[in-house]
């Protein structure tokens, strides 16, 4: 089973890598500047694209960039959504390839947990301040 999976993974990487190796002077991939016909699918793709980083730009999502690589990634996202893949599965696939950096939605991991812990601490602290200030005997 593991061998089949790893074979599939290799295949996926190979297939996925093809459009991304396109040179800059080639015309952009079909779905870089073309929307999906189904509005619901396009909306899902758009939502996902807005949360993926264009790796060659300065702080832009792939939905907001003219860079050729962003166009290629938009093509990837749109064609995978059209094939019925789940947006979060596409995100995981991209993270596997490019690392956590590609996703603007940080995951809870050993390095990123303080991002999620601190808001909870702040919430508790805020409630505590209110309680101490107002909760006691009048």
């Amino acid at each position: 089973m593991a061998r089949v999976l790893s074979l599939l993974a290799v295949l996926a990487v190979l297939l996925g890598a093809l459009p991304l190796q396109a040179q800059n002077d080639l015309p952009p991939a079909p779905y870089a500047y073309k929307q999906l016909d189904d509005p619901a699918q396009e909306a899902a793709a758009q939502k996902l694209m807005e949360t993926l980083r264009c790796l060659k730009c300065q702080s832009q999502s792939i939905a907001d960039s003219d860079a050729p690589m962003a166009g290629d990634m938009r093509h990837q996202v749109r064609s995978r959504i059209a094939a019925g893949e789940d947006p979060e599965a596409i995100r995981s696939w991209l993270i596997d390839r490019y690392g956590d950096y590609v996703s603007y939605a940080p995951r809870v991991t050993a390095t990123t947990w303080p991002l999620f812990a601190l808001p909870l601490v702040l919430l508790a602290l805020g409630l505590l301040i209110m309680l101490r200030r107002f909760g006691g005997p009048k």
């Binding site: 073309k34 300065q58 702080s59 003219d66 603007y104 940080p106 991002l115």
Partner: protein, 648 residues
Amino acid sequence: MIAEIGLAALWLAFALALLQLAAGVMAVNNPDTPLAALVRPVASVQAVLCALAFGALLLLFARTDLSVSLVAANSHSAKPLIFKLAGAWGNHEGSMLLWVTVMAIAGGLIAIIERRLPERTMIATLSAQAFVGLGFYAFLLFSSNPFERLPQPVPEGMGLNPLLQDIGLAFHPPTLYFGYVGLSVAFSFAVGALITRQVTPDFARVMRPWILGAWIFLTLGITAGSYWAYYELGWGGWWFWDPVENASLMPWLAATALLHSVSVLASRDALRTWTIMLGVVAFSMSMIGTFLVRSGILTSVHAFAVDPERGSFILALLAIYIGGALVLFALRANTVAEGQRFSIVSREGALVVNNVALSAILGIVLLGTLYPLFTEAFGVKVSVGPPYFNPVSAIFVVPMLVVLCVGPLLRWRHDSMKRIRPSLITVGLAVLAALAAALIIGGTDLLPFIGILLSAGVAVGSLLPLRGRSLRRLPLAVWGMVVAHFGIAVALFGMAADSAFTQEELVAAQIGQSTTVGPWSVTLDDVEPIAGPNWTALEGRLLVSYKGGALYELDPQSRNFWTPFQQTSESALLTRWNGQLYAVIGDDAGQGRWQLRLWWKPFVTWIWYGGVLIALGGFLSLIGRVAVDLRRRSAERRIAQRHEEAVS
């Protein structure tokens, strides 16, 4: 010659700041020394000299003096004059000089006009102001000299980043700097009051106009920056939680909290230490913002200085000022008495909710901005963007806005919910109406949905303080509060509507081809090459009509600048009261077709109308407060005069 005069003026200003600090430190515990009389005049002369230095730099840029290294590196003789002048601060050295100039002028102003506080507090405040100024002078003179000459004048300048050649640039940095520097004055007042332990309502009244002024400029700066990014970058986004955007948002959050807490201190003599703390935090955020933006840690259109030496210099300044102020705060805070008590259902109680929430949001934005830099230092790259900031900050924004609906209706010190029940019901009905409307339209995500409901509640709640009061006699400061809070509702509605209802259309269109986006029909009429002073462009002519009505023309361009080479999209916008049509022309898509990107963004302009209303509210408040102060002062003068006459 001009460059040398500018440099000399800058050195003299540096020396005077040193004198101001030394005299201030010696005089603060001994106000009878002659040195005490020196502090105020020195502060004013320092301001004049610094303004002279900045004037010299403007003149150099206006003349495109190519023997000056900064001009050669950032200007070009073919630029229009307005961009030559704006170019003076469109670079690292010039922008730091602008910063220190505004700061020196602010220091000079308080030295000349401010007479309400005890003289000791004023001396301590002006010393703190000089101490902060010294760091920036040193930074300019030792590592970022804007007046450096080239060994040989160059024949032509390098030009300015095309993205920055925009009228927005002429106003964006000065606006933000006025804000940052206003907070530096608040910081100096806070440090001054900590040193002399005199945190009084009078002190709050003196500090308040500076906070209000700073806050107005920050609000306008953020609003303008957001609109600039929206139309200039050509992708229709108006906020991306980009570190540079966050750097401007953080001082605004702190200033907003400070503005509210200083009002409590001025009216009720409560929240003393908290207000001082926020004064320190607000300016710290300005410094952290400057550090992030200018140090080159972030690569962006703002990072002029990709020079590690300068980055370390700013970091050192940051550590000295913030660290020093926090140590002073730790030493002195417990010697400042807490002030008046109040119950949770009261105006102060609502303002405490505002302050706690704003501080928590500030903490989240700070963490989300710095954390990726922190992990990168350990070799792990992560991105923190809208999917993190939006929901996490909403945890605090939502309760804060709920409290905002009714907070201004509450009385000081102690009140009951029963008294304001009719108002509660009115707000509730507004929210219910919005809920019904949102459900009928449908198809929105959770956050925009909540945003629409809250905007209705805040809009109605913000107007309720006007009920039953004579509109003509209402103090300007109350009008200011109402307008600013209403502006929040307007901006929030714009944000929610834009994310919920935007429609996008991408087409590769032939000449003559029509398409639709939302209620608009769009025809590509023609594409023509045109030339500007330092660029060439392809300009599309689009004929558009709203629901089959009158035809309008939109001319988006795809521009190529040649000094330095860069391609940019100049979007074309058509504004209606209920939204904007946003059009961009892209590359030749082959076979005589052109790539068009079109968006219909319902109510998107309300975001910036709201921002302007918020700033306008601040402005009304500022005028109201200053007018009341002036009237009070002249009344006090008259009383004193009569007293003297009676005695003699």
